[in-house]
């Protein structure tokens, strides 16, 4: 063996060593205890099956977390399919001499100062959640992975098979839609 530390796997100790950590990691991301338990269990099962692919470069927990992250992305894909068929509306001219400029009726409106200050408001949270639900599936998934799960850009690109510039176009459009929805339903209603 080389001087570099070679990590090993010991499934018999997984539950004692890592289950709390994985459970905590999952529950803060899926918000449902039963579901979090299921995902943790699936992660250990997948880990068992994939043991021969373990090269000893990462620590056991890091390796398990990478499997867990994929499970969470799968979960997000599942819950986000078949919902929100709404199209994303275009805010900028797509061709001609004014290509890339704002379309007049899509220009942002000034927001109400009082509404802007009241950021802790519970109804604001509900409005935000509703607006996110209204995003088309692909946009919602990428936006949530980035904003709630705080995945790295590279991780999302690898998992979803998209390029970084693709990802930014998606997030840009998702946020434009979100901004407009929050404007109409909260900040300038």
């Amino acid at each position: 063996m080389s001087e570099n530390q070679q990590h090993t796997l010991d499934p018999n100790k997984w539950i004692d060593l890592h289950s709390d950590y994985l459970f905590n990691y999952t529950i803060t991301r899926v918000d449902n205890e039963e579901l979090a338990k299921d995902i943790v269990q699936e992660t250990f099962f997948s880990g068992l099956k994939a043991m021969q692919n373990f090269r000893g470069q990462a620590a056991e927990r890091t390796w398990l977390i990478s499997i867990l992250k994929r499970k969470i992305i799968d979960h997000y894909r599942k819950i986000n399919s078949n919902k929100g068929k709404a199209e994303v509306r275009i805010n900028f001219y797509e061709e001609g001499g004014r290509k890339g400029s704002w379309i007049e009726e899509r220009v942002p409106r000034t927001w109400d100062n009082e509404a802007e200050k009241d950021i802790e408001n519970v109804e604001l949270k509900q409005t935000l959640e509703k607006c996110i639900q209204n995003l088309p599936e692909k946009y919602r998934t990428v936006f949530l992975l980035k904003n709630v799960q705080q995945y790295e850009t590279e991780e999302i690109c690898n998992e979803l098979g998209i390029t970084a510039s693709n990802l930014w176009v998606i997030i840009h459009r998702a946020r434009q839609q979100l901004r407009k929805c929050m404007e109409d339903n909260w900040f300038a209603k």
Partner: protein, 86 residues
């Protein structure tokens, strides 16, 4: 994105969004700022985009917690795992 100094509103707002995640490059930020000097609409958009980030951070991010599995759950999980390992 191209290397030109002057960019469209569509490009400027895209960079503005990247910047919300601290992932805009140095040159992108320069181009964005040049654009913002002359474009009031994107200035307003940029301000609101920052507000949106603030609202999202406030209401979407999960706080650190310390959840644990019960001993019973762990026993069940151990049994299942042992069976799967056979």
């Amino acid at each position: 994105m191209s290397n030109k100094l002057f960019i469209t509103c569509d490009e400027a707002t895209t960079i503005c969004t990247k910047n919300q995640y601290k992932e805009a490059s140095f040159w992108e930020k320069i181009r964005l700022n040049i654009h913002l000097l002359t474009c009031k609409i994107c200035g307003l958009y940029s301000k609101q985009n920052t507000k949106l980030s603030e609202v999202c951070d406030k209401h979407l991010l999960k706080k650190d917690c310390d959840y644990k599995l019960s001993e019973k759950d762990k026993e069940v999980l151990k049994k299942k795992l042992a069976e799967a390992d056979k």
